[in-house]
């Protein structure tokens, strides 16, 4: 009897292994990107050329930021190690070509989700990891307190190849103000030119303004005007046509946000396995088979939370504690007055 039991368990184990193996290979077969990533052993991630808080490399070449954390989360889910990411710094101009031509697998580079980008050029946006809007920075001593003070002939510095360029035109046109757009390929040159006095105002996403302000020679002499002239939902992008990979990236981001909602963080994730709340148990892989649906094991989400942390931790570490935007504004959970609201992971 005992002998049979042993055989039975080994049979069950074998079937289980075989089953997970086949489901895994099936998902992997469907997703060329997932297969390639597992073969290579790292996630290829496109980031900015240096935007503090979002994606920025320190002197030792370590990347940090909320955009970086999305790629780290995917690496933790797919490869089991959040550090197995290869970052490629890209200019605004290069970013989409790098993604569509297979140089990178995720573009997580403060990129605005718009209809034409999503539908037209072979890209798919998977979600929003930062709700932003375009604003203006001016010198404090200019006396500008609102965009309504702008006069004909104002010169505005900004980045080339961004939605900023289009919003700026819409804005100045609607106000009937003639302006001089000065567009640079790299953000560092924009900052240098604005700092030198080439432009009266510097316009880009407000988070970008807050981050770049630190780079100015005397940050305290500059203010960001209160008005927001556009909606800029920033989020990670993948190539069109690989729905499994798309799902993995989308749910890696969603898990981070949902973990914050349920109070699961990198410190308490392991102990949450015994939680009474089934939603929390699903989140840490103690219940359900959510990983299998994505072609991953069941601990994928637990690894994300343990290695990268939930969205709140990532925000605090990268954006709040660095003094860029201490106030979360719209990027607060829907339960706390913000607009972060993700579909349930179940």
């Amino acid at each position: 009897m005992f002998k049979y039991l042993k055989q039975l368990t080994s049979l069950v184990a074998m079937v289980a292994v075989l089953f997970t193996f086949t489901t895994e290979t099936m998902a992997a077969k469907k997703s060329k990107t997932l297969k390639n990533t597992q073969k290579k052993g790292f996630v290829r991630c496109g980031v900015s050329q240096g935007l503090p808080g979002f994606s920025n490399a320190d002197a030792a070449g370590n990347w940090t930021g909320v955009d970086v954390d999305v790629c780290r989360a995917v690496a933790a889910a797919v490869l089991g190690d959040a550090n197995k990411v290869k970052f490629t710094p890209l200019s605004a101009k290069e970013r989409f070509t790098a993604l569509t031509s297979n140089e990178i697998d995720i573009l997580s580079r403060n990129t605005t989700w718009t209809l034409s980008r999503d539908a037209d050029i072979g890209l798919t946006f998977v979600g929003v990891n930062f709700y932003d809007g375009q604003g203006f920075m001016v010198r404090k001593n200019s006396g500008y307190s609102s965009v309504n003070d702008f006069k004909n002939g104002i010169s505005a510095c900004t980045n080339l190849g961004t939605t900023t360029e289009l919003n700026m035109r819409d804005f100045f046109n609607s106000k009937g103000i003639s302006y001089e757009p000065v567009t640079f390929e790299k953000a560092d040159e924009v900052v240098a030119a604005y700092d030198a006095g080439r432009c009266d105002t510097y316009t880009t996403d407000k988070s970008g303004l807050a981050a770049q302000r630190i780079k100015l020679s005397s940050p305290d002499d500059h203010i960001v005007l209160p008005e927001t002239i556009s909606k800029e939902p920033l989020g990670p992008v993948v190539r069109q046509g690989d729905s499994v990979w798309e799902d993995i990236v989308r749910w890696s981001l969603n898990v981070m946000i949902e973990a914050e909602e349920y109070g699961v963080n990198s410190a308490n994730a392991d102990s949450m396995k015994t939680s009474d709340n089934p939603a929390v148990k699903r989140l840490v892989g103690a219940e359900g088979e959510l990983g299998a649906a994505l072609g991953l094991d069941n601990d994928w989400s637990l690894r994300i939370i343990k290695q990268v942390g939930n969205y709140g931790e990532s925000y605090k570490r990268n954006i709040a504690d660095t003094g860029i935007l201490p106030d979360r504004g719209p990027n607060e959970l829907w339960t706390k007055g913000g607009i972060l609201y993700v579909p349930p992971a179940r």
């Binding site: 072979g122 010198r139 200019s142 006396g143 010169s155 035109r169 040159e189 030119a193």
Partner: protein, 381 residues
């Protein structure tokens, strides 16, 4: 025999066609897989972005094609300015290097070695940010000659406001045509009677007198519009009226001409040194003045050596102008292969158009220079 000659050619052609076919098929398949459509229809769509500096009327309500023209004209503008200044500086420095004066030829040598050995992009950044640091804010600037204002926001110069501009242009054309006739007449006279005509002073006279006549009798009238300072905010100022040359254009043209001039200077030096000493001595011995020796004997022979390598430098300068994107000068690469590419996402179409444009620009310069080279080449009789 014939087949032996033709067969390799045909095979080569076939291979080339196959290679191109493979790449275009590959691109087509990849684009289809990623849901990217191909086509040039976007050129007529509204561009919806503005450009800071344009030679033709343009704003975001115009088409992408118009934006392309804006970029192309700006590229041509900075190339032409660059070529003119590079040639002037290059010739002066090239001749200075041959000077017997130690100070002059050493200074020229140091200039050449210094500027041609530093990467151009660095020089562009240097001039741009040096200019931005050094130039005064609009409210602090001292006017040059009362009407010119050099500021960090650009070089503001007076503009002419014309009445009957067409009559003035006709008078200029008439002057140029009559100068050509005078030159032909003078050459014939010298060949037949050996008498020299002062062509230069007659030409200058014509160029001055005819336009003045157009003012007196043609109803031409020009008034000058001087830039006026305008307050934007408590501490922000700019100038209004007149013509504005952006600092990006000035520093780009400066960097391009200083860099390319070093190479042209070397071409000039090589050309002059390439004329054998005996030629000069022989010319002097038949009683030509030093000026005539230079003009009639040395330069015609030196030019034959100078022109072909200088053509290369002109081509380089034109292509190097595409570095403009780094410092926000709205050239073809920044406007069309930059902003327009980003807004439409049509990388293959836009890059192909841009490549073809640079190719055509370069070939045009080559054709022009080859024509000039043929004109001054030795005509063997």
């Amino acid at each position: 025999m014939n087949i032996k000659k033709i067969l390799p050619q045909l095979l080569t052609l076939l291979v080339v066609i196959l290679i191109f076919g493979f790449f275009s098929y590959n691109a087509q398949v990849n684009m289809e897989n990623r849901g990217i459509t191909f086509g040039y229809g976007f050129l007529s769509q509204e561009s919806s972005f503005d450009v800071q500096f344009s030679l033709i009327e343009y704003d975001g309500s115009h088409s992408y094609f118009r934006a392309y023209l804006v970029g192309l004209l700006n590229t041509i503008l900075v190339s032409v300015i660059g070529i003119i200044f590079a040639t002037i500086i290059g010739v002066v420095v090239g001749i200075a290097r041959l000077s017997n004066n130690y100070l002059i030829n050493r200074t020229a040598a140091v200039y050449v070695e210094f500027f041609r050995n530093i990467p151009l992009l660095l020089q562009i950044f240097f001039w741009y940010f040096a200019a931005l640091r050094a130039l005064p804010l609009p409210q602090d600037t001292e006017p040059m000659f009362g009407f010119f204002f050099l500021t960090i926001k650009g070089f503001f110069v007076p503009a002419f406001v014309w009445n009957n501009l067409d009559v003035f242009i006709y008078s200029l054309i008439a002057a140029i045509i009559s100068i050509i006739f005078v030159r032909i007449y003078a050459r014939k006279k010298q060949e037949n009677e050996g008498i020299q005509t002062p062509v230069l002073s007659i030409s200058i006279g014509l160029l001055i007198i005819l336009p003045i006549l157009s003012f007196l009798f043609g109803g031409v009238d020009a008034s000058v519009e001087v830039p006026v300072i305008k307050q934007l905010s408590q501490t922000g100022f700019t100038y209004e009226g007149g013509i504005k040359l952006p600092p990006e254009l000035i520093s780009l043209a400066l960097a391009l001409s200083l860099y390319t001039a070093t190479f042209i200077a070397e071409c000039v030096r090589a050309g002059v040194q390439g004329v054998s000493k005996g030629q000069k001595e022989a010319a002097a011995s038949i009683g030509l003045t030093p000026n005539q020796v230079l003009k009639l004997v040395v330069m015609p022979q030196a030019l034959r050596i100078i022109i072909p390598p200088t053509t290369n430098q002109y081509l380089n300068l034109t292509k190097n102008s595409s570095l403009a994107a780094a410092i926000a000068y709205p050239d073809l690469v920044l406007v069309f292969a930059g902003t327009a590419l980003m807004q439409t996402g049509r990388a293959i179409e836009i890059v192909s158009i841009t490549m073809l444009t640079y190719l055509s620009l370069s070939i045009s310069i080559s054709i022009l220079m080859n024509w000039y080279n043929k004109k001054i080449a030795i005509k063997e009789k």
